[in-house]
Amino acid sequence: MPSSGEPFLKPRFVSPEVSAPLEPLLRRVAEGDRDALESIYRHTSAKLFGVCLRILKDRNEAEDVLHEVYVSLWRRARSYDEAQGRAVAWLTTVARNRAIDRLRSRAASRETATVEGMEFADESPSAFAHMQAAQERTALERCLAELDERSRQAIRTAFFEGVTYEQLAARWDVPLGTMKSWIRRGMIRLRGCLET
């Protein structure tokens, strides 16, 4: 048995997100089952970390958000209502909202400093290699494709980066009202298209 020169432990949580049914695990979490929480973490943390990192562009902050999300899941799993929708969507939404809140609470100077120079995965449809909800994604993509280019780009950027109307307007160099109208018009058309 060696007494020194031990290698670092291998990463335990590198498995890609798996499309596992989370609802039974959530029920166990609500009963205080920590193994179930770990299972959920293993299945979802890479996706959630990717979403938060995309918004925050800072690994430490994204990690803090995930920490909060899973601890709050532990405390509040009982309040999860299965009738409300799929658990993965719910968890992703919670993480995304927390990441956006954190982004908002940052100093404005820091935001603009970190937005540039970061490279992230392609957000064009070609990046949709590993997806779980093919039909919905296709419908959303089809409807997004029907929007005019500016609305589509603004909506995508807003979703992926969690930036405000003001920041979008500055980035496109258009008046705030113009940006609001691009997005609102696009969202109304998007809903109409998805509801048909």
Partner: protein, 247 residues
Amino acid sequence: MTATDREPEDVGMAAEYALGVLDAGERRLAESRLASPVFAAEVRAWEDRLHPLTDAVQSEPAPEGLWPRIDASVSAVSPKAATAETSGWWRSLAFWRGSTAGMGALAAASVAVVMVQASRPDTPAPAPAVQQVQAQPPMVVARLAAENGPTVFIVAYDPMRRTTLITPLTPAQANRVHELWVIPADGTPRSLGVIGMDSPARYAVPEPLQALVGGDGTLAVSLEPMGGSPTGAPTGPVVASGPLSRV
């Protein structure tokens, strides 16, 4: 209710909230309206519509130290924490013990000793099987916490292997390193080296320090310049400390 019946303002804000374009104040306003079931349903519908977009976001493995941090946190906030704190602590130990090859037998035996002692605190004579285990040098563990704060490191010393297994529960700091110290009865800190913050890892303990780490002293972690303390004594703030205890 059809789409045209809905308040345009409501629909707009629900969509904007779900999309994430509102500023901080507007977000608070939207959240205050989530108490309304109609508005909440509108937000949820938008979240569901947009959710497929997250498929386009590249997954990224979460930092390795995150799960231990979460695990430690939930043991503190669980509704069952008051009655099951000890078992929570042991489950944390089981986590990294289980993920380390070669420690199984001794670790399991040590746990058995603790459980026997815990369940029968007034029984001086242990069962024969337990006695055999106690002939082994005991494991030593320390839970290092910030002052009045959460646990930030778990350190276990295995006297058979003369190594420590250190589990960091806090992220690395920019331009600084975490250095571990043992402080024996004489009060003089001796360095055990700089801690890798990325993952739980095992470190050899130099021979002169083995008796100190196996003793009754205290462990502490200070923040030091890159490469560790230049003086051989702690120079930066102490971020965590905790007593060594045999198990």
